[in-house]
């Protein structure tokens, strides 16, 4: 490992332990880590912006006439720092908000409302159509003919069996079809009951209340599932961080974890004993 890698490991391990120290209580190590993170992130974002937006799109622009108006609109935002002319920033905000609203309407309509409505309003019971039943009859006849002509083991018979199986799936009301139908019905019921729960133009009483209560049950399952999913995602990150901290405890990383941990605990104990911990400004 190069010196830069070891220094980076020390920094990453130290900052990770600083942030984890918040689980004990708010303390100077956590605050130091938090503020350092903020400073580095803003600095990095600014430089990235210069490299990826300002230089290629403004400085090296092909047509400056097309670039000047957005630059002016952008700089009008900075008039917020000058109270006397801060109203000029409204022009920029109006453009950004008007643009966003105008862009959102067709996009939301086509990519969300129509797609979600289309996925919900499917046939609730999918009985085989006449064409599917005819196709099944034809496939069964072909299979019987091929068996009679070629025998049971011939490759042609195997192909006809496969075709007949596929035709049976779509030409008869199978368990697979029933399961798909039940799923469609539950989805339909769930979507409309949840939508109805948020519909306040009718008073929710009597049978209407029961329907809206079904919506609440669907919502509860959704919230529980989202919670479980989020927690597991967070814990996956935690395992990853703990693995990195463990990796940094060996000789390769010059024993970063134990040294930083001992120093941190030493400082926290010293602060607690001298009463400095209670003087700490809160957030």
């Amino acid at each position: 490992m190069s010196f830069g890698d070891i220094a980076g490991l020390w920094l990453a391990t130290g900052l990770t332990l600083f942030l984890f120290s918040f689980l004990y209580r708010d303390n100077p190590f956590y605050k130091l880590g938090e503020h350092l993170y903020l400073g580095v992130t803003i600095g990095y974002m600014l430089v990235k912006l210069v490299y990826e937006t300002w230089i290629p799109k403004v400085w090296n622009a092909e047509n400056y006439a097309l670039v000047i108006p957005p630059v002016i609109i952008g700089f009008l935002l900075l008039t917020r720092f000058v109270p006397k002319v801060s109203w000029l920033s409204r022009w920029s905000f109006a453009f950004i908000i008007g643009y966003g609203s105008g862009l959102a309407i067709p996009a939301t309509f086509t990519s969300i409302i129509l797609k979600q409505a289309e996925a919900t309003t499917r046939p609730l019971v999918t009985v085989p159509t006449a064409a599917e039943q005819k196709a099944l009859e034809a496939a069964e006849k072909t299979l019987a003919d091929t068996r009679a002509a070629r025998g049971n083991e011939a490759p042609e018979t195997r192909a006809a069996e496969k075709a007949a199986l596929s035709a049976r799936r779509s030409g008869t009301y199978s368990w697979v079809r029933a399961y798909a139908d039940v799923t469609t019905i539950i989805l339909f019921l769930g979507v409309f009951s949840v939508l109805f729960y948020f519909f306040f133009s009718i008073e929710h009483k009597g049978p209407v209340r029961i329907f809206s209560r079904v919506g609440v049950l669907f919502l509860m399952i959704y919230f529980g599932a989202s919670y479980g999913y989020t927690v597991m995602g967070r814990f996956a990150l935690l395992y990853d961080r703990l693995l990195d901290v463990r990796k940094a405890s060996g000789g390769d990383a010059w024993f970063a974890t134990p040294i930083i941990l001992v120093l941190m605990i030493g400082v926290l104990v010293w602060r607690h004993r001298t009463g400095k911990a209670s003087e700490e400004p809160s957030h």
Binding site: V40, S101, R241
Partner: protein, 210 residues
């Protein structure tokens, strides 16, 4: 003056909004060009608007340091690390791999973002421990769904018969139904809000005065 302060911004929002709505519903090469053109505008405006955030941050922390307010040292850390990172612009490698900015991204931003999010796991878990009590049908469903999904995500869940299948079903059917309804509601609400903004009914973005 009121015209410049109120009417002009409302007019700008109306024109920008209507042009973009028309562009969305008129499939023509010219409308495609309008979209590309305005998109490049917005990227530049967003690029400049970052300065507003950076300026506010610097102003707030510099004031704290100047007044030697409580915790000013941490403000100095923020401004110091911000300045130091921004100096990376002058390094020949810039944001390319192997440069100082890539180093700070790799060892500071990346690692700390993951740590911050992982800490949230503890707080969500402790909040759930207090909130998830099976006292009603709704709370029981919440608890059961969460436990099933969590078990379905860990290796031990694979050894419990039926758990991975039930977890998948919960995610694919009832969760999808509720999520779809919420998405539809949010979409309808966002369209209504967008129309209110374009037609000047919603004016909160103009601020309170005049």
């Amino acid at each position: 003056m009121t015209t410049l302060k109120r009417t002009v911004p409302l007019g700008i929002a109306l024109v920008a909004g209507l042009v973009l709505i028309l562009q969305g519903f008129v499939p023509h090469p010219v409308s495609g060009k309008v979209l590309t053109w305005t998109q490049s505008w917005v990227v530049i405006i967003a690029g400049v608007s970052i300065l507003l955030g950076v300026g506010s941050l610097v102003q707030a922390h510099a004031t704290k340091i100047h007044r030697q307010s409580r915790g000013w040292f941490y403000s100095a850390v923020t401004l110091g690390t911000f300045g130091l990172t921004a100096l990376g612009f002058f390094h020949p490698k810039g944001i390319e791999p192997g440069g100082p900015l890539d180093w700070s991204y790799q060892y500071v931003m990346n690692e700390m973002s993951a740590t911050m999010f992982s800490i949230l796991g503890f707080f969500i878990a402790s909040a759930a421990f207090r909130a998830f009590r099976a006292r009603s049908v709704e709370a029981t469903l919440l608890l059961v769904a969460a436990v099933i999904i969590m078990l379905g995500q860990v290796p031990v869940g694979a050894y419990l018969p039926g758990v991975p299948q039930v977890a998948t079903w919960v995610l694919e059917v009832p969760t999808t139904a509720a999520k779809r309804a919420i998405i539809l509601g949010v979409a309808l609400g966002s369209i209504a809000t967008a129309l209110r903004i374009i037609f000047g009914i919603e004016r909160a973005y103009l601020g309170g005065s005049e």
